[in-house]
């Protein structure tokens, strides 16, 4: 049980490490909070709401995302999209990720 909990925590940490890259890569077009969560989940990256939503605000405060409120139907929603600054940062992060993926594959190859 303890081991299972420990592994779950480590998996959570691994996901947290890639979530910024995943979010920036998926926000080429405007998305609202819940649609980003669904989009990531549909593509295989389950992210906790408590992790994703505050992260969107943090990325916006860092200038990597932009947001605007839009009323659709009866309800307002905050839409997020990658900013000009985010577009500059994304390739740099992607390059780092590619290197990391190669390195880790090398480490983990049998």
């Amino acid at each position: 049980m303890e081991q299972q909990q420990m592994v779950e925590n480590m998996v959570l940490e691994l996901r947290r490490g890639v979530i910024v890259l995943a979010v920036l890569s998926q926000l080429q077009e405007e998305q609202y909070g819940y649609s980003i969560l669904k989009l990531l989940a549909d593509k295989g990256l389950e992210v906790d709401q408590g992790t994703l939503y505050p992260l969107l605000r943090r990325l916006e405060s860092q200038g990597l995302l932009e947001s605007l409120w839009r009323v659709e139907g009866a309800r307002p929603r905050r839409y997020y999209v990658i900013s000009a600054e985010g577009r500059k940062v994304l390739p740099l992060l992607k390059e780092e990720w590619d290197k990391l993926a190669v390195t880790m594959s090398g480490f983990l190859a049998k």
Partner: protein, 324 residues
């Protein structure tokens, strides 16, 4: 009020005012989107209380939800915590020691019966907790202020940090912060007691079935007090320099030796001169010649121990200075 409204209100209460409205609106939108999707999938209404509860549970408790939007905040952070804990324990220990001494003196001076003793002890325990809370509260406050002021200073320091600035300190030159703080506190207590409460230094005895407490320091001792004060102040200066330098240097070693030699000279002068402490003449103790002589030897013995101990310290300091 609906469950969602109550939840949003609870979260908002925990958020800073400037982000409260905007975040409340956003969290409501996120909850409603999730609810809408879940209702569609399960065929339930978005107002179904069970469904709403499930979704809110997924979002987490209001305090957890609010905390996730805020940077980590603490009164005393991990950098300061070890030194805070050290100071906390030292001060708590000293407060307890002072309390025990005060209680002992009060019991000896004022208590005439067991019941009165118990009453005094109970009152004294309440006083101790009161004083301890005030003292420790002040320590927390001071550290919280340091924590609040620290980020700017440490960030600047750390960005300019050069590994070559780390000094290669010899083992014998290292200082222990705990020992220095203990030394400062001890010196301050000694100064306080001898200058403000010299009557605390005395003996308790039974006189006609009543416990009596009498001071023992003589005029001869108080003639030495000004020079002792100078010595203690210099001792505090030495501790301050050691904390600042974070190691023993040639200067602090010589200063330490000088202070020890001065201490030896004062103790020797006390030993050679008129008695610095005597049993109270107007007491049963002061009328027993054997007891008076024994006490005189006891005081002389203490001075001899101080002289021998200080001499050993001087020799140790010299060995450390010249040890390769």
């Amino acid at each position: 009020m609906k469950l969602i409204d109550r939840y949003i209100s609870e979260v908002a209460d925990r958020l800073p005012e400037k982000m409260r409205d905007d975040l409340s609106k956003e969290i409501r939108s996120l909850i409603e989107d999730t609810l809408e999707d879940r209702a569609k999938a399960s065929g339930k209404s978005v107002d179904d209380e069970v469904l709403v509860s499930e979704v809110l549970k997924e979002f987490g408790s209001p305090s957890k939800m609010a905390a996730s939007y805020l940077p980590p905040r603490y009164l005393i952070g991990p950098r300061l915590y070890p030194i805070f804990w050290l100071v906390f324990r030292i001060v708590l220990g000293i407060t307890a020691l002072v309390w025990v001494i005060t209680l002992g003196v009060n019991l000896a001076e004022n208590v005439t019966s067991v019941q009165a003793g118990v009453d005094l002890a109970v009152r004294s325990i309440a006083d101790f907790f009161g004083s301890a809370m005030v003292v420790l509260g002040n320590i927390v406050l001071i550290f919280a202020i340091i924590e609040w002021l620290m980020p700017k200073v440490t960030k600047e320091k750390e960005s300019n940090w050069d590994p070559r600035s780390m000094e290669d300190r010899r083992e014998q030159d290292k200082v222990s912060l705990a020992e220095l703080i203990a030394g400062i506190v001890f010196t301050l207590i000694v100064m306080l007691v001898f200058n403000v409460y010299p009557q605390w230094i005395g003996v308790g005895f039974l006189d006609n079935g009543q416990i009596t407490f009498s001071p023992i320091l003589t005029e001869a001792f108080f003639r030495f007090l000004p020079v002792l004060n100078v010595l203690w102040i210099l001792e505090l200066v030495k501790y301050a320099i050691l904390i600042r330098e974070n190691k023993w240097t040639g200067f602090t070693r010589w200063m330490d030796i000088g202070l020890h030699v001065a201490g030896i000279a004062i103790a020797a002068a006390m030993l050679a001169g008129a008695p610095i402490a005597v049993l109270p003449a107007n007491s049963v103790l002061g009328s027993e010649p054997d007891l008076i002589n024994l006490f005189r030897y006891f005081v002389s013995g203490i001075l001899v121990v101080i002289i021998v101990g200080s001499t050993v310290d001087v020799v140790k300091s010299l060995v450390r200075m010249f040890k390769k």
